[in-house]
């Protein structure tokens, strides 16, 4: 039986990879993928807790998270496409028209 802590550590690791990815990468899509990564890290820990607590509530939340992530993906990509159509770039550094 894999002890709960291992799962938590795994989820924490994946979460920090996601955060690190979001902070360092310059490409919008990669940044978006790292956010997805963070969401999945949370799913791992939720499932682990749910199994540990013998309570289904966690897994119900996982389903919601997955659906919301899908919706987010749809909207995120739509925004990125609209952006791409205007400026033909997916690079975050070009998007600083508004500052100060």
């Amino acid at each position: 039986m894999v002890p709960l802590n291992w799962y938590l550590m795994l989820s924490a690791a994946v979460f920090s990879i996601g955060v690190f990815g979001f902070l360092t990468r310059r490409n919008i899509i990669i940044m978006f993928m790292s956010v997805e990564l963070m969401l999945n890290a949370v799913n791992i820990s939720l499932v682990a807790f749910s199994h540990y607590l013998q309570d289904l509530r966690g897994q119900v939340l996982v389903f919601f998270i997955v659906t919301v992530a899908a919706a987010e993906a749809a909207i995120g990509l739509a925004i990125i496409i609209a952006l791409f159509r205007n400026k033909a770039t997916a690079h975050v550094d070009d998007m600083n028209e508004m500052k100060g």
């Binding site: 919008i28 956010v35 963070m38 919601f64 987010e72 400026k87």
Partner: protein, 475 residues
């Protein structure tokens, strides 16, 4: 276990809203004149608002996951006001911006629906769902002017940072769930007190994560970075909507979560919110001083007002929450009014959102200038206007809870804020007009301005009713 139909009365407003939104989406295909869509959505919203106070609406349902009480009803009134006023001011505006699509109204309604769910969420899961529904629809609204680069950029920044913050929220929720075994706010509070989890670092971590996510939503410093760009880039009517709706919902949720779920560990989350509040007031007021774009200036002013409202949360007493709710309502009116005037200035080929565009407005359009003057003085918090009443109630609650020093800081920052609000009045009244400005007025815009001005002055002079309503929301 027989299928027990949950009591649907408390959730009827949300149901009505969902049907309305879907109907608008479908109707958009058939109806060419978008104004009728606007009219329909206003009527629908009014109907939903009517159902708030139906008999039997005020109790919990879905096993405690959905609470409809005085607290949530007050916020729903704020949301209803917010969306109705937004629709009123955006009818003509969309035509000017040439983005006159029906989905705009549907998205507004979905976002309001999300807020209403957040306000009544008794469970972290429902809260998350409401939050995501509101957030997603607001992201699209922010980027509604597709051909304008700024709007896209605003949407992108709002979206990415928003999802980043909600990831933190989820992590916090998972930790809380892990520790207390439940996501229901009341039961979390009970388990914390039973199991004595007060000092546990894990609980503190989860509280921080949740606090961070909500601070993002209300654009509190240091999680406010998205706000100026999103407010400036988004279409002005959406900026108006964004600056009131999500912020009020954020506060509703903070109030609910931190006062219902974590009352035992109050000392800790207050320690989190105090520096955030001070920084928010500081950055909000100070950076606004050197702005040249009026929408960006109002963004920073909205951040500053979030700082003042946070004082109500920090006070933590029933009075504190009542003052925060009251502040949100008054803030809604003030902000809507100010943005309405900005939208009026937006006409063909004239952006109208630079502060210098307001020079000499009192000569060319005395009425518009007078209205803007009222809103500016109200945002500063000068007595005969509602802004003062809101701030006064917040300061009273905070001092009563013993945070006099914090109030002194808040008071000094509000004095600093006087400068940039007065700069607008100065430009309007004390400078000569550079070029003639034509206003795009419409009956709906006139109605919106009338409502907001009357509200700002009426609450300013006779605040008894509103304060009583906010105060009585608490048992």
């Amino acid at each position: 276990m027989p299928l027990v139909m949950p009591d649907l009365k408390p959730i009827t407003p949300e149901i009505v809203m969902t049907c309305l939104a879907l109907f608008i989406l479908v109707a958009d295909v058939f109806i060419k004149r978008k104004e009728t869509l606007a009219l329909l959505s206003i009527i629908g919203m009014a109907a939903a608002a009517f159902t708030f106070a139906l008999p039997g609406a005020l109790n919990t349902t879905f096993g405690g996951m959905f609470i409809s009480d005085g607290y949530s009803m007050f916020f729903k009134i704020v949301f209803a006001l917010n969306v109705i006023l937004t629709i009123l001011i955006s009818v003509k505006y969309l035509a000017v911006e040439r983005v006159n699509f029906g989905e705009y109204y549907a998205l507004l309604l979905f976002s309001t629906l999300g807020m209403m769910i957040m306000a009544s969420a008794g469970d972290l899961i429902v809260l998350y769902l409401g939050l995501e529904l509101m957030a997603l629809s607001t992201y699209i609204l922010a980027g509604f002017i597709r051909y304008d680069m700024k709007s896209n950029e605003a949407a992108l920044k709002y979206f990415l940072l928003g999802s980043f913050a909600s990831a933190f929220l989820l992590y916090g929720i998972s930790l809380a769930y892990g520790l207390t075994g439940t996501t229901n706010l009341d039961r979390i509070a009970m388990t914390i007190s039973e199991k004595g989890l007060a000092g546990k670092p894990a609980l503190t971590l989860s509280m921080i994560m949740i606090a961070v996510a909500f601070s993002f939503k209300i654009a509190a410093v240091p999680f406010h970075m998205w706000a100026p760009d999103a407010y400036e880039g988004a279409p002005t009517s959406v900026t108006a909507f964004m600056s009131v709706g999500p912020k009020a919902a954020g506060f509703a949720v903070i109030g609910r979560v931190f006062l219902m779920a974590f009352p035992m560990v109050r000392a800790e989350w207050v320690a989190v919110f105090i520096p955030i509040a001070i920084m928010t007031m500081a950055v909000g007021n100070i950076v606004a001083l050197s702005q040249t774009n009026i929408k960006r200036m109002l963004a920073y002013s909205s951040i500053a007002h979030a700082g003042y409202a946070l004082l109500g949360i920090i006070a933590g007493t029933a009075d504190g929450l009542a003052s925060m709710m009251n502040y949100m309502l008054i803030y809604a009116f003030m902000n809507m009014g100010a943005f309405a005037v900005i939208i009026m200035l937006r006409s063909e080929g004239f952006k109208g959102d630079a502060i210098s565009d307001y020079e000499g407005l009192s000569k060319t359009h005395p009425l518009a200038a007078a209205l803007m003057l009222v809103f500016m003085f109200s945002l500063t918090g000068i007595p005969p206007t509602a802004g003062f009443m809101g701030k006064f109630y917040i300061f009273m609650a905070a001092i009563n809870a013993g945070y006099t020093w914090l109030v002194i800081i808040a008071v000094i920052f509000s004095a600093i804020s006087a400068y940039f609000y007065l700069r607008i009045v100065m430009n309007m009244y004390m400078k000569d007009p550079k070029e003639t400005v034509t206003l795009t007025t419409s009956p709906s815009m006139g109605l919106a301005l009338a409502i907001t001005t009357v509200a700002v002055l009426a609450i300013g002079v006779l605040p008894a009713k509103v304060i009583y309503l906010a105060r009585v929301a608490f048992p």
